[in-house]
């Protein structure tokens, strides 16, 4: 009898099929359309490393730029790229992704170009660090802001040396 009562009860109630306006809110943790911010990217490759379906890849134009590529057809929206990105360059927005196609198809492809910059000390082309990382690392030492990774290491060891042997500091600065 329970079922008959349920069915009769349902007859007196409005439809339970949800109209678009009655749909539950999109949760804040929803993993939707992917966005990449080239200004924050250090091209470290963590996102490509954690991407199981290999939707993210990097290509290089030596001396000019590093390109970040994304293909939506291979993306599984696991969100690991955004979670593991050390500089928060990738974000998954609460918007429905556009152009979902098959893995072999011609779905949405994103390309984001990270321009290389010459080192202010040695001139070698390198991926510039995002402003937030620079401010945290070299808030005071303005001169080191544009250094390449090699020169940053040199500067760090020079600081160490001068701390231990103050006399050596002058020589080091004129070495190169």
């Amino acid at each position: 009898m329970a079922m008959l009562k349920t069915i009769l009860g349902n007859l007196l109630r409005p439809s339970r099929t949800r109209a678009p306006a009655d749909m539950p809110d999109v949760p804040t943790v929803y993993r939707g359309a992917l966005a990449h911010d080239a200004a924050r990217c250090t091209a470290c490759g963590t996102c490509a490393f954690v991407c199981a379906p290999k939707a993210i890849s990097f290509t290089q134009d030596p001396g000019v730029s590093v390109s970040w590529h994304f293909f939506i057809g291979q993306c599984s929206f696991c969100g690991l790229c955004a979670q593991n990105c050390p500089t928060q360059a990738i974000s998954l927005d609460a918007e429905v992704p556009t152009g979902m196609n098959s893995a072999a198809g011609d779905g949405l492809r994103l390309e984001s170009i990270v321009r290389l910059q010459p080192c202010t000390r040695c001139g070698a082309a390198h991926v510039p660090l995002p402003d937030a990382a620079i401010a945290a690392l070299w808030g005071v030492e303005e001169a080191e802001r544009g250094y390449c990774p090699d020169c940053r290491r040199w500067a760090a060891s020079a600081r160490l040396r001068s701390a231990f042997i103050p006399a050596a500091a002058e020589e080091v600065h004129h070495e190169r």
Binding site: M3, T6, A52, S76
Partner: protein, 359 residues
């Protein structure tokens, strides 16, 4: 005159491909042979070619229903190898997701079972209840199917406001107690199709080594959550459900009462969610040389994982034994001597997950 009758692999009752070849004498089934392997994807081999982060995403796709169980069990195996103990809050969140997943899996099964016996109005009622669970899972994890909650060392996402989900649990308990359980256990139409159908005796259950709700419906009191408590089950005080009859009705009742127990576990876990970090480790995981075997109770029964590490970037071996792998062959014992028309509900009563079985 005896004849043989192939059911599947393109299946009239289930969405996934598997084949039951039955030998009939008139309306009665003499014997049956089960064939699986139509959706083999080679996940165990692929897992050896993916690093420790990627492999979780891959393992989560072993199954479309119990996706969290697989990712969670794999992470537990990796944590055992590395000697990582996850924070209490992470264990509670994993328990909540695992039990929500059991709820939605059992509700899905109840709906499919109702449809197989031609009870469409019950199917609609069950699936509208299931939406409550799916909405809760989506609100917590951001996705309805692959939650992506697990990482080696803890969980990815927090449950910031646990009290928010209690009204949905209340509505679910009410729906189960007022509609689903009474209809399955008292409605003459439902009883006529389930009582005494597809019996699997206790001895047969031992012989075919069935696990999970199928074993518990045949009077075998085995449940990993009770026998070898993991996550927060010991703290939450889990109690298993058994029935001695071994027919389809007993399997329905076991799953229904398990849902009630799951709701209780989720409510207690939400109310007693301890404060603390979500992860025991920072950054990308490093797994030393070692091996581990882990058993967990998936919605369909005991899931078994063997994971070996050689200290490299990828696992050296991931062996997955899913509950459906041992439950599906038992269909052969259940259908013998039953009318052909009951074949569909008997095989559905096992809750076969072909995607898991074939991997």
């Amino acid at each position: 005159m005896p004849y043989s009758f192939p059911l599947g692999p393109y299946h009239p009752a289930l969405e996934e491909p598997f084949k039951v070849k039955v030998q009939c004498r008139g309306e009665v089934i003499d014997s049956a042979t089960v064939e699986v392997g139509f959706s083999f994807r080679g996940i165990e081999l692929l897992a050896q070619k993916r690093n420790w982060v990627e492999v979780i995403t891959l393992i989560e796709r072993v199954c479309g229903i119990c996706s969290n169980t697989h990712a969670m069990t794999f992470c537990m195996a990796a944590e055992t190898i590395a000697g990582i103990e996850i924070p209490k809050r992470a264990a509670h969140i994993r328990t909540i997701i695992a039990e929500l997943e059991r709820l939605h899996s059992h509700l899905l099964w109840a709906g499919v079972g109702a449809e197989d016996i031609g009870f469409h109005s019950l199917f609609m009622e069950v699936f509208s209840l299931r939406e409550l669970v799916m909405d809760t899972l989506e609100a917590i994890s951001g996705n309805r199917v692959n939650y992506g909650m697990n990482c080696i060392g803890g969980v990815h996402r927090d449950i910031p406001d646990p009290m928010r989900y209690l009204p949905a649990l209340d509505a679910l308990s009410k729906g189960l107690a007022e509609i689903v359980i009474p209809t399955f256990t008292e409605n003459p139409t439902a009883l006529a199709r389930t009582r005494g159908v597809g019996r699997l005796s206790r001895e047969q259950a031992v012989e075919w080594a069935v696990v999970g709700p199928v074993a518990r419906a045949s009077g075998l009191d085995i449940d990993v959550r009770k026998d070898q408590p993991y996550l927060s089950y010991a703290a939450l005080g889990f109690e298993s459900v058994t029935r001695p009859e071994g027919d389809v009705l007993a399997r329905v009742v076991v799953r229904a009462l398990e849902m009630v127990e799951s709701i209780r576990l989720i409510r207690e876990a939400l109310l007693s969610l301890p404060a603390g970090p979500l992860r025991a480790t920072e950054g990308l995981p490093e797994i030393p040389v070692g091996e581990a075997t882990i058993r967990t109770e998936a919605p369909r029964g005991e899931a078994f994982y063997y994971v070996a590490s050689e200290g490299g970037a990828t696992p050296a071996r991931v062996k997955i034994r899913t509950p459906s792998f041992v439950n599906i062959p038992a269909i052969e014992a259940m259908v013998t001597g039953q009318p052909l028309a009951d074949l569909s509900i008997i095989q559905a009563s096992v809750d076969p997950c072909i995607s898991c079985t074939d991997r």
